[in-house]
Subunit: 433 residues, 2 copies
Amino acid sequence: MSQKDAHRTWRIGVAGLGTVGGGLLGFLEVRPQYAPAGGRAVVTGVSARSRSRPRTVDISNLAWFDDPVALAQSPDIDIFVELVGGSDGPAKAAVEAALQAGKAVVTANKALIAEHGAELAALAEAKGVPLLFEAAVMGGVPAVKTVREALVGEDIRSLSGILNGTCNYILTEMESAGSAFADVLAEAQRLGYAEADPTMDVGGFDAAHKITILAALAFGGAPNYAAAEVEGIAAVDLLDIRLAGDLGYRVKLIASAERAGEGARVRVRPFLVRKDHPIAQANGALNALFIEGERIGRIFLQGPGAGAGPTAAAVAADIADVMTGAVRPVFQGPAAGLSPCAPSAGSAAAGRAYIRVMVRDEPGVLAAVSEELAEAGVSIESFLQKPPGEAPGVPIVMTTHAVAEAVLEAAVARIGRLPSVLEPPRLLHIAGI
Amino acid sequence: MSQKDAHRTWRIGVAGLGTVGGGLLGFLEVRPQYAPAGGRAVVTGVSARSRSRPRTVDISNLAWFDDPVALAQSPDIDIFVELVGGSDGPAKAAVEAALQAGKAVVTANKALIAEHGAELAALAEAKGVPLLFEAAVMGGVPAVKTVREALVGEDIRSLSGILNGTCNYILTEMESAGSAFADVLAEAQRLGYAEADPTMDVGGFDAAHKITILAALAFGGAPNYAAAEVEGIAAVDLLDIRLAGDLGYRVKLIASAERAGEGARVRVRPFLVRKDHPIAQANGALNALFIEGERIGRIFLQGPGAGAGPTAAAVAADIADVMTGAVRPVFQGPAAGLSPCAPSAGSAAAGRAYIRVMVRDEPGVLAAVSEELAEAGVSIESFLQKPPGEAPGVPIVMTTHAVAEAVLEAAVARIGRLPSVLEPPRLLHIAGI
């Protein structure tokens, strides 16, 4: 390394001083020379919503900017760290301004990269500066670095995992405490584990942002958030968690991306996962990811997917990477040449499934349900009938052998119209991992 | 990136054409432009023991070198890939020659880096060229990159995991097939899973090389292989695998490195691991690693630790990293300033343990054994007495609460001298993970 870089001071501007920003400031204050390549990383300017809010770190000696865009453009910073959040608005404006001004950008903003990654990458590459976002996915677990750098050139077949800690915490609590979704969510909000508006998390959108980013890196395209199929956990019923448990499964919100033909299928939805699978054992706020490739086989990563410490550590790692002077495109090829990851139709995809049908306890009903499935060519793998509980009717629970999703959905819709069936049947897919 | 680098051809010299070298040549032949940073990676020269041995790739159009040192010094290569193996001899001579000639070096050689890493790093830094070795640890699982880059600046407390696939395969087979160590080893050798001379693997030395490298990166020192405490699996008895299983544990060869005072304790030895722990569930040839840090919490990595595909992928990733022009020291700071990771005395360390004592089935023997432990202040957690089997005597099996290792070892030695005890007791530590 050149002597110049080894003694250089890198001036960092940080926009957004929540727990992650506070964690980063605290770390850099104590350890400005943490990067082995030498040089010092010193925060010189900050921006946040409120200047006077009580903070764990003293910001009185740092340049203050009411407007993150002004901080991003400041001639007194070399690297702009964006921790504001949100796919548009000030976060996007500030990142664009920083890149336009020729500054390296480090961000934890998954929504921004998933929704505007391609245009930001083009701007970064035109200006010859890095745009890094390790902290956007899985907090301190290096999912982005693994897919982008360690598996460069690898033909990745699929990615699947748990990318939203809030949903995983809620599902884990529902199972262990036997509480309904709404009750666990309310408690999580009280404890600060879930946002006041939990839509991004429980709706599956946060996980969809993250898997969109990983899919772009894995399959060599631009992020295509619009093509992600997204289903959250609000409709996951405690009864299904219990019954799936009786059958040896746990319900997990799985974000997945699979190569399919010329495109990729990217989706987030609740899946049944066998209890002895490592993904099923990632409980609480843990994140976990399986990566399957042609040559590397299967790699599994697990760790805390959020939190001030892990996320700030990921931001610090990106800052250190900027300091090495590495030159690589933002995604897996120059932005100008990337196509959005093409969606692939999912209806032809086949997989196993769990079906719960609430029926009146009367003769002939099981035969009627079975007949619908048989006519559709859906083959039953296991069957469970429980005695009547508090709810009206009795549940008939089945798992199927692999069947095309479209075929299964049509059969389940027909079952829902049978006279003895009390409510629309619940269909949950079983993860093929 | 500069236009020049984006179109540059990087000429690769590969020394060692075993399965990994063959896999790399096959990959680069088909995908020379795999690196997103642009540029082509083209193998131009090779060296191996035999020129005429049948190979999966055609080397007839590549420059041939009988001597890897000559290849390393050739003016016609830019990056030297060392896949010869061995801590000294031609591998070391060739890597030194390449660095001396100002060429970037990529190696999969754990012995070389663990035993001579500091001096090679000093040479690489003096010449301003990278020396990369991702493939040396955990094959295609990016353990080196994670510790060096993703956790830069993180205060890592400990690393522990399964770093030798051959030992893990043997232990897994002993448990599942109920076969003795020697029988499983012979079968593994027949299948090509174990070397003709298995000492490096089953003696724990290969795992010790790997954990030595990770410890240097994690704790900011130079590799100190001489300080590693190493015990292999040759003495692991099938009976202990069975009895540990009855108690809810699996026997695993664990490589670990823990910060301890000013130094680090680095060791490899068989441990009992609870069956529901992710490390216990990494079976067969899998590798697995837990990393625990102050801010990031616990990160878990798992995947195939060897094999042509994963290892060649790791080498290809290192070559792509060279192409980015990143400048960072080989370890976590300039080599000149690194001290060897200081060993810390282990005798004060406390942990839980498993003890098996083979005794004559006669009155008073249990009391005598218990008394020795009580006098030493060793507290029993669980106790298992099995009916007599084929072996002479009956086993008394105990697990202890946490106790200083030195105290426990002394007590066990005294038990071994009791008149009713038929053979030296077996002591296995229980992993504190």
